[in-house]
Subunit: 167 residues, 2 copies
DNA sequence: GAACGGGTACTCGGATAACTATTGTCCGAGTGACTGTGG
DNA sequence: CCACAGTCACTCGGACAATAGTTATCCGAGTACCCGTTC
């Protein structure tokens, strides 16, 4: 039971975003195994595999089994937002879900049945805040971040490509 | 060790906000025991006590022991933001703390020492989103919410007062 | 009648356990490539 | 030389533990009130 959905950003979100950026610099048809992506950042391979699998379910990446298989971006980097990644990994859609405590106990008798129809003010306030957060994440794409990284370090894409091409 | 600070809104935050609103309607010198506040919303008394204690450390409420003791607001409701409450309960200041994985493993060698000085693009993006969230929460005060509730149900303050005055 | 001292009940405060969720690991199913063989 | 079938190694995918964080609980320290006693 999940009464209160959480807004926690699991560590895997950070990993996933970095992986997506790296993948965006590789040839579109080039698939990279999870183990190799993990090695690049010193991450636990098996666990990263699990996260990438979650991204696969969301369509952010596409997976292929067998030799020369692995993961590659499921669509153009311009079409992948940070929100997509966060939702894929974290799963939760809403961070603050009103428990409805204002209707429990003696407090419930005060507002009466009419109060049960009006929205919970507290929940509304938190929802607005969360909406702002989500809006920000939805406005940034993997392509955006990749460009920013390239601007700070123009050689990065080539270096990443060459490292992943090493056998 | 807390590598990744979390943004999770613990259930206690919701409780605390509701309690603060209720307290804002009582006489300023009126102290309410945690047990009574808990009874009002059917919450576990001992645990709510703990959360209120956290609010006390942050100055949001002030506590008094002994008979006729309990909790009351530590300052005017206009001076208490939702952010204050969330931070007091949740404690964490930053939700997304960059783990620095881009410097671990082979990836670190690519950017080089220079890359270590440039800020992590991924972390920046998430920080902006979190800032928007925090800004929203900081812009809403307990007084705001109390007014909104009163607008939806004008009789609420009196009812709350009278219930808490019952022996 | 008023002041004082002791007792008592009540409250917070922090230390302690139970539980849930996240992190991490492992092995099996599936798939594509490679090799050797036959035409 | 080309096509084909069998085998193999490689990869994902989901099921299975370990760990950390949150929820919940309990009991002790402190405090203000109340009552009985004394001046």
């Amino acid at each position: 039971m999940r009464n209160v959905q959480d807004m926690k950003l699991r560590e895997g979100v950070e990993w996933a975003v970095h992986c997506c950026i790296n993948l965006s610099w590789l040839a579109p048809d080039r698939a990279v195994p999870a183990a190799r992506l993990a090695e690049f950042h010193n991450l636990p391979a098996a666990y990263l595999n699990k996260q990438l699998h979650a991204l696969g379910r969301a369509g952010v990446v596409s997976a292929r089994s067998g030799p020369r298989g692995g993961f590659r971006l499921g669509r153009e980097p311009e079409k992948i937002t940070l929100m997509d990644v966060a939702v894929a990994i974290d799963g939760s859609a809403q961070a603050f879900l009103c428990t409805g405590i204002r209707h429990q106990g003696p407090a419930g008798g005060i507002a009466g049945p009419a109060g049960r129809r009006t929205p919970c003010t507290v929940a509304q306030a938190f929802s607005h805040a969360e909406l702002a957060w989500r809006h920000q994440l939805a406005s940034r794409t993997i392509a955006d971040l990749a460009d920013a990284v390239r601007q700070a370090n123009p050689a990065a894409p080539d270096h990443v490509r060459s490292w992943f091409d090493r056998t």
